[in-house]
């Protein structure tokens, strides 16, 4: 199973995980990213490059499928205005054994967090806004997966 969705709507983690659990693998790993409401943040606005995002995510999923023996990969990434506590991104992977599921899940989220064509704008309670700057740490992490 391979599923990639770039959407503004929220999603139901239980439904996504149930589909992954049903694939017959021994291990399901997942990561859910959530908006943190720190420093007076009232919303995060995610902009993306629609013509590019789905194709890019699809390509990185294919790379994960080539690197690990996976029975299923599911990625959901939201865009638009998201408030603290809202889910931003979900990565779920299934394999016969845990290591492949865990490693591929970490690989995919590292990529999504550093290389996916998304930009985040922070909205604060006092009316201020700020575009989030890219973190050198994230780039280094994603590069770490390169053989």
């Amino acid at each position: 199973m391979k599923r990639v969705a770039i959407q503004s709507a929220d999603f139901d983690v239980a439904t996504e995980l149930a589909a992954l659990e049903a694939l017959g693998g021994g291990g399901v790993a997942s990561f859910t990213g959530i908006v943190r409401g720190e420093g007076g943040l009232i919303a995060l606005e995610l902009e993306h490059y629609p013509a590019m995002t789905a194709a890019q995510v699809d390509r990185i999923v294919d790379e994960a499928l080539a690197r690990w023996p996976l029975l299923g990969v599911n990625i959901i990434h939201r865009f638009g205005r998201l408030e603290p506590g809202a889910r931003i991104v979900f990565v779920g992977t299934v394999s016969r054994h845990r290591t492949a599921a865990l490693e591929s899940c970490a690989f995919l989220i590292d990529w999504l967090k550093s290389d996916a064509p998304f930009w985040k704008k922070e909205h604060f309670a006092d009316g201020a806004t700020a575009w989030v700057a890219a973190r050198a740490e994230d780039e280094a992490k994603a590069k770490g997966w390169t053989a």
Binding site: M52, D115, W119
Partner: protein
């Protein structure tokens, strides 16, 4: 003609998310295009005068700024991506 698309603070400063421009001459790079657009002044000059802060894609693929535009259909200019 080619399409240029802008994202995040590049888009905000320029004031629109997409425009059509004359196809650049053969050999023109993304960096050349950025320098040319910056001469328009205003929001263009403001965000395009420091190319080190910019990233680009040609036909939906990330490329270094010294990439020749060639017969591409779409060039995208944006800040480094900040992911999900």
């Amino acid at each position: 003609m080619i399409t240029i698309v802008y994202f995040a603070w590049v888009r905000e400063s320029i004031g629109h998310d997409e425009e059509r421009v004359e196809r650049p001459a053969p050999g023109v790079t993304v960096a050349d295009l950025i320098a040319q657009l910056a001469t328009r002044g205003g929001g263009y000059a403001q965000v395009l005068s420091d190319p080190a802060k910019l990233r680009a894609a040609i036909d939906q693929r990330f490329v270094p700024l010294d990439t020749v535009i060639g017969d591409a259909k779409e060039v995208a200019l944006f800040p480094p991506v900040t992911g999900g």
